[in-house]
Amino acid sequence: MEIFKVKDLNFTYATAKEPALKDISFEVNAGEFVTVCGATGSGKSTLLRLLKRELAPVGDVSGRILFEGRDLQGLTARESAGKIGFVMQNPEQQIVTDKVWHELAFGLENLGVESEVIRRRVAEMASYFGIESWFEKSVTELSGGQKQLLNLASVMVMQPEVLLLDEPTAQLDPIAAADFISTVSKLNRDTGLSVVITEHRLENVIPVSDRLLALDRGEVIAFGETRETVEKISENERVLYGMPAAVRLFAGLKASGNFKVSENFNATEKLKVNGTLKETWNPKETGNPKETGNCPLDVCEGRRFIEENFKNEVKSLPKTERIRDREKALEFKEVCFRYEKDLPDAVRSMSFEVRKGEIFCMLGGNGSGKTTTLSLAAGICKAWAGEIRIFGKKLKEYKAGTLYNECVAMLPQDVQTLFIADTVKEELKEVRFEPEMLPFDFKPLTDRHPYDLSGGEQQMLGLAKAIAARPKLLLLDEPTKGLDACAKKEFASVLRSLRDSGLTILLVTHDVEFAAAVADRCALVFRGEVTSEGESHEFFAGNNFYTTAINRMTRGFYDGILRVREAEEIIRLNGCDKE
């Protein structure tokens, strides 16, 4: 049965001239997991919101949306609310009430369900999601990942037929994100729940989805079984950016044209172990045998794809050494810090140095002390032991204000905390920003409201405010949170050009791929200490898990390959025919 059937859907926002969606047609079958992909502005959020009547944006709609064979508009308010579940991007603001138990009950209260029934369903959901132990807690006590899980549970308690998820993991750290997606996938398998999800971070989603709907500029560019569709979209660069590394590699090699996948290679076959061929493996038994299914989707498949198709006579690429300044921009010497007297140290004898004119990345899990380290360097927190030097001068010796005057600036994790005015122009005027400071054109945005900008544009605006005081050392806290692949790429190139103009950059992030793309040197922070540190290639080569997908794919076969571009290059050097 079809849960959703969308036919010739067109939509134009009330405030816009150009349509946001053009002639969209697709369907979602019961029990199916459908991923909607596309860059920012592709219309994927708009589409998802149109499927949920209560959240449908204001504007001109034409075409039809059928839910279980009925017109979406014909559903009663209760049916629409209960049967179609929706989870949004931001874990914080979706929560309505102050207690976990109340949040779980909220939807059922709205549907007028009796107390006794609510009690039972809430209890059932809490045990399924394993949130019994925080049932009576205040929502503020939960971590970001727990909050998003609570949001999911409070929708699931209404027993929806279909779950719509709008970038649900964009604000989560990689571990929480993977957990969240696996929970959704488990719900899909356990209960036959239909899922429609949009995501920027597709590494986790692609391998579990049945079908893929790719959008670009409001149009469907491909729709169908995941593996086949992935191959079809490889010409569209903007959609491709968001794809898993294996897909990007495959598409890149295909586009360069000088290779052919060996005919007996089939990505859906499991690895050969000890010479015996394991049973043919379909990610999901949808019935139809794969014919064009050659594109690898995850690290495991990608690794086999490389090993079975290509030679590895050339093991590594020639190194391109950057000649760098040896002068220190920032130096931590056995710095200790704790938030309260009775708490353990958040940063414990932390030592590292950032050299002038480099991009230095600090990686680490949640609560490892990365952000605290930045706050210490920015003079917001005060260390109780150790020494911090900025450009050779002790942090303490910077008199009030002088630290922030053409010296240090920090871009916070939530850039919205910097917004105060009603237009971009006023926002830039507050800090006396001048256009030549940043290789980014604010002119088209000048009269827009900061909160109306896309995530990437907000990040740029934040960055503009941060560098307006002409800092020599820029500190960035988790700058890629919530950004899509295109925005990340642009942000990376802006950072590189800032570095080339002499700025020193220290950034902390969860985002290994981004770190690998921009960093000159990296460090891993664990429990308030730097545990390893080094030049990017060496650093990641030394890690087994904390490294890029492409590195995990090529590990042992090639050496020191971090980026898709590098993998393509070394494969080309090796030649492609392997019999």
Binding site: K99, E109, R119, M158
Partner: protein, 292 residues
Amino acid sequence: MTALSEYNPIVIAIYFLSVAGLAMFIMNPVLLFVSFFGSLLVFYTLNRGKKDRSKGMFLLLFLLLGLLNPIFHHNGTTVLFVVNDNPITTEALAYGFTSATMVVSVIYWFRGFSTLMTSDKLLYVFGKISPKFSLMLSMALRYIPLFANKFRQIKAARKALGLYRQDNIPDTLKSNLKAFVALGGWSLENGIVTADSMEARGYGSGRRSFFSRYSFKKKDLIAVTVTLLPVLAVIGIKLSGSLDFVFYPEMSGKLLNKGALWAYACYTGLMMLPLISDAAEREKWKSLRSKI
């Protein structure tokens, strides 16, 4: 003391409002004296092991309020001494301290009340009057820690760009104002997401039901009855005039008449209820354990 907190919040509310209400509106020195010690006893049993930092403040308030009346009121016949042609009388002093006793004991009853009435219990009580109001309170309570945290983040973020200075008072003010405006923008813009999330989950789709973790059980009914009986008795005795006590022009009224003694007994019993129910529960546990 946990026994009382196990009852339905309505029971707790009725109990505290009754004891405080009786104290507030019956100006009888003996009754207020009892109430005063009762309120302290209940408050300190509820907060056993915790430090009461504000007790000095309340002692000061007590003395101040006690001495305030004779300064303003000079009626009364028994003159103690004269200041600037204004007689200070025993009656006025007695009235002052009786009032002070009342005020301080009411404050302590409410402090005890606040210890037991956690926010979700109070929301439950409000929900009985207006579910919508209660929901909005709950939303606001959910926002407050979020905003407080965001406010800190905003200040830190602005500080790290040199936009937040605290060198002098005008600077501090201006910086706080700007940060607060930024918080206003942030919270209003993001508040809309909450509205979306509410509608997506069917808010406004029809009549709501009201779910709470508390239900009104038989033991709650018994507790309300046991609370209200002495309250009604005291009110009845008060209306009969047995509790009347006049301060001016001279103190008159029998404090220890038969009716009044009954009222004191009822009120004392009422105050001891939480302690009694607690002790009863403890005994029950003990006997249960000994049977194992």
